[in-house]
């Protein structure tokens, strides 16, 4: 069954026809063509589909599309909307914090949620914030280093 959903994605009002069985991830990828959000497991264990819902990081595969009206969703496409990289993205580039790239959008959003809430996290807080995002290529060191570089302060010295 199809339903018409009104929602706010990356600051824009959208009206989308969705299947009642669609998850938020299906809505983003298949209905809106926002394929920057990836599906690694489909059951909330890997974090590749992390997006922000009202500023908080969530797994888009665990939210039904029908739950989205009235909420504000931020995806990776909304992080660098004006073409300039977000400092977190720039740091991941410079520190070698992305390899195959499949986990990267989710990592960016998980880290953004952390820094929006706590601009000067410790290394442990950084590791906690991305503990729900699996990465199989980097071993995490260069990702943590990149986030710490943006956060500045203690975390950066701690991770050296």
């Amino acid at each position: 069954m199809k339903v018409l959903l009104n929602c706010t994605i990356n600051g824009e009002e959208q009206s989308v026809l969705a299947d009642t069985r669609d998850t938020l991830l299906d809505l983003l990828r298949d209905r809106l063509g926002l394929t920057g959000t990836k599906e690694g497991c489909g059951n909330g264990n890997c974090g590749t589909c992390t997006v922000l819902m009202d500023g908080a990081p969530i797994n888009a595969c665990l939210v039904l599309a029908a739950e989205v009206p009235g909420r504000s969703i931020t995806t990776i496409e909304g992080v660098s909307a004006d073409g300039a990289l977000h400092p977190l993205q720039q740091a991941l580039v410079e520190h070698g914090g992305t390899q195959c790239g499949f986990c990267t959008p989710g990592i960016v959003l998980a880290a953004k949620a952390l820094l929006d809430e706590n601009p000067r996290p410790s290394e442990t807080q950084i590791r906690h914030a991305i503990a729900g995002n699996l990465c199989r290529c980097t071993g995490y060191g260069k990702i943590v280093e990149a986030i710490a570089a943006v956060a500045g302060s203690a975390a950066q010295e701690e991770s050296r």
Binding site: D19, G36, C41, L85, G101, I130, T138, G139, Y140, K142
Partner: protein, 764 residues
């Protein structure tokens, strides 16, 4: 060909710690993987998989599924030509048996593991395709299943394949067997030397199956046009290997097929073979629409893709009182899963290669069981073998009362010493690595005291890697900039390191180089990204292509500047006459001669000398003897890379590889039920390391260039996964006095080992 050692001081771009040239599209989510593609009218496919570990397929009836509204096409084995055993396609030194590849993609007559595909459906959407699977009727006759090496090799074991007779036994056996092959590597009298040795150590280990754990599940989009030409957008480690496999499975001429490699969300050996690509093409042929097939995570883990081999390994080693090794014996039994696996030979050699020892006896067995057919995983079977051998060596050190580093230095293989296969070692830097370990704080610093038991472990790793074929070509754009097309997919930062190589050759900046991976019809044949071969061999190919292009450009420049070609100097994008000072830039030259025809520099590398990989790892752990929990406190990896094209990329390979190794060492293991069904087929229950589970990995890069290889580059990406489990096990043993012989070394197993040893201590 140049010796890297001589060139090193003059290098400008190679050796720089540069960010990936394709990092921007990764951090913005613009990088495109096959699952991101959508075409008008695209159908969605799903595969029906076997619920049985071993069964005969009596009947498949797809008529009810085909009749469901929205179903566009249904296929099973009858829709594919039957390929005989031994239908080989080229892949490296051994080739690939298409009979096996076909079985991985679509079972015929029998199923050999839970999750093996038996039918495929394409429908208007994934929901309909899923519903249609339930309407396919398959009658099975379940057969007794053998689920481990012991039961597969029992006298009365059910035989998986009637045509398999153990290879490597004389006379040739008369009855089929689950033991596919036996391999022996022998030198001197290992048993005699072992019996006579004053110090010996014996160890038997068991390693559970794990998974490569790439985060992107297998995905493909296939489209067949009205002329019958098929385009396949794939997540693959090799577009040419995939093309050969798809063509063979479909009986399609190679000229009717193109494989376009998209970004690949991790492969680690698991995306060399095809998994559903040919099925998607057949469905597209049938329904005349583009077809997308994306695996679920459960499918990836539950038989839809090949995990690495489980093993049983027994090692015995002996040494004189002086600490010189006198004997190494090893028995390696590899659980290949439902089809014959990789040859045990490579890993047998690898596990003994780093030690000079006059007496050697290694025996390897490849055994089939009713589990998913195994595939390569980063230095295939290297970590399992090191888990056995490096622990045995550590036990020998304890017997001798000798420092494990001194013991290694005393027995280390050096350039020219005999490899297990009998040939002399090419240039290697093992002793250099060991000396670097000795002076490094990770080895010199005393172990900091803690509340819990702590220990430090050392382990070595060796991987031979391979060379095979790489090709690329370079055209020159109208603005004079090199446009590189290479036959390698980018698994490890290849676009970046290869842009550095071409920039170096042209005397330009890396920003001046445009580089991309060609599809299987727009670049020369190249073998896949496997065996630590791509950076080395593609460097050779692109050095050749660069010099070919520059030779063509020089001829044009000579005409323009009206002087002899050999009277021109070239540097930094500019040809300059040696006398008179006339000069022309590549941009001016191309603008002036654009209509004279294309400049195309070509390069191929086929038989490059091997660039063997060697590493040494040092690890500090803490063991909670009440819970069995092992925490890695500090980890340092030393590796000889020949010459680091890009140190940041090298570290990326080393750090990621070590963490994969730590995952398998401590938490990652497949848990099969008695019915052959994987009980932990999710990323919650199959536990890969998170950012909280591992420390920062410190990397120490050593550079011993390989002679007669451009820039002296060695393989990098595989060997750093070899030592971690052994390094952790040795550290646990030093912390607790207990050897853990089952991997992964989960808290439960560590605790059991601790209790067993303590109980025996109390009882004596």
């Amino acid at each position: 060909m140049s010796d890297g050692a001589e060139l090193a001081p003059a290098l400008k771009v190679i050796g720089q710690r540069l960010p990936r040239v394709d990092a921007r599209e990764r951090v913005t989510g613009e990088a495109r993987y096959p699952a991101d593609l959508a075409f008008p009218g695209m159908a969605h496919a799903r595969l029906l998989r076997s619920p049985h570990a071993h069964a005969r397929i009596l009947r498949i009836d797809t008529s009810r599924a085909a009749a469901l509204r929205g179903v566009l096409a249904v296929v099973s084995a009858v829709d594919f030509p039957e390929l005989p055993v031994g239908a080989m396609i080229p892949m490296g030194e051994l080739g690939y048996d298409m009979w096996m590849v076909a079985q991985i993609n679509m079972a015929r007559r029998k199923v050999h593991w839970v999750g093996q595909p038996v039918a495929g459906v394409a429908a208007v959407d994934a929901h309909v395709a899923e519903a249609a699977l339930a309407l396919i009727e398959v009658d099975y006759e379940p057969l007794p299943a053998v689920l481990d090496i012991a039961s597969a090799t029992a006298a009365d074991a059910a035989v998986l394949h009637e045509h398999i007779f153990t290879k490597g036994i004389e006379p040739r056996p008369r009855t089929p067997s689950n033991v596919c092959s036996r391999i022996v590597i022998e030198r001197g009298d290992a048993q005699g030397a072992l019996a006579a040795a004053p110090a010996t150590a014996r160890l038997s280990v068991q390693v559970d199956t794990a998974h490569q754990g790439y985060l992107e599940p297998q995905a493909v989009v296939a489209q067949v046009d009205s002329n019958g030409f098929a385009t396949v957008w794939a997540s693959t480690q090799g577009q040419f290997t995939a093309e050969l496999m798809i063509a063979a499975m479909l009986g399609l001429p190679a000229s009717k097929l193109k494989v376009v490699p998209m970004e690949i969300g991790g492969g680690f050996g698991g995306k060399i073979a095809i998994h559903g690509e040919a099925v998607a093409v057949r469905l597209s042929q049938k329904c005349r629409r583009p077809v997308k097939l994306v695996f679920s995570r459960e499918e990836v883990l539950q038989g839809g893709s090949g995990p690495p081999a489980a093993v049983l390994i027994d090692i015995a080693v002996g040494a004189g009182k002086d600490g010189k090794l006198t004997s190494i014996t090893g028995n390696y039994r590899l659980d290949a899963g439902g089809l014959p696996g990789l040859s045990p030979s490579l890993v047998m050699q690898a596990s003994a290669a780093l030690y000079q020892c006059p007496n050697l006896n290694l025996q390897g067995y490849d055994v089939v069981t009713n589990k998913p057919r195994t595939e390569a995983y980063r230095a295939p079977v290297g970590i399992q073998a090191a888990f056995a051998m490096e622990q045995a060596m550590d036990m020998l050190c304890q017997q001798l009362g000798m420092d494990p580093l001194e013991f290694r230095l005393r027995n280390a293989s050096v350039t020219g010493s005999t490899m297990p296969i009998g040939t002399p070692f090419p240039s290697i830097g093992l002793t250099t690595i060991l000396e670097r370990v000795r002076e490094h704080p990770c080895w010199r610093d005393p172990l900091p005291e803690g509340r819990l038991l702590r220990g430090r472990g050392l382990a070595l790793g060796y991987w031979r890697g391979t060379s095979m074929t790489s090709a690329g070509h370079i055209t020159i754009a109208g603005d004079g900039r090199p446009m590189v097309t290479m036959g390698a997919v980018d698994l490890s930062g290849t676009r970046t390191t290869m842009a550095q190589v071409v920039a170096e050759e042209f005397g330009l900046d890396v920003e001046d180089i445009h580089i991309h991976t060609g599809d299987s019809k727009s670049v020369g044949y190249s073998d896949g990204a496997a065996g630590s071969r791509v950076a080395r061999t593609m460097t050779a190919a692109l050095v050749e292509a660069s010099r070919d292009a520059l030779t063509q450009l020089r001829k044009r420049a000579a005409e323009k500047l009206q002087c002899a070609a050999d009277q021109l100097d070239y540097a930094s994008g500019m040809f300059r006459a040696r006398t008179g000072g006339a000069a022309i830039s590549l941009a001016q030259l191309m603008q002036a001669t654009l209509t004279d025809g294309a400049i195309i520099g070509r390069g191929v590398s086929t038989k490059l000398p091997l660039g063997v990989e060697i590493g040494a790892h040092v690890c500090d752990v803490e063991v909670d003897d009440r819970t069995g929990l092992v925490t890695v406190l500090r980890y340092t990896a030393f590796q000889d890379v020949g010459l680091a094209l890009n140190p940041a990329a090298v570290e990326g390979q080393m750090e990621g590889s070590v963490v994969q190794g730590l995952g398998w060492a401590l938490t990652e293991g497949f848990d099969y039920g008695p019915d052959g069904r994987l009980r932990n087929a999710s990323l919650l229950d199959y536990r890969m390391p998170t950012a909280l589970d591992v420390p920062k990995i410190d990397c120490v890069i050593v550079e011993t260039p390989v002679p007669n290889v451009p820039y002296g580059v060695r393989g990098v990406g595989e060997v750093p996964i070899v030592p971690p489990a052994a390094a952790v096990a040795n550290a646990i043993a030093r912390a607790t006095g207990v050897r853990v012989t089952r991997m992964p070394m989960t808290p439960e197993r560590v605790l059991t080992a601790l209790k067993r040893v303590r109980a025996s201590e109390y009882s004596t």
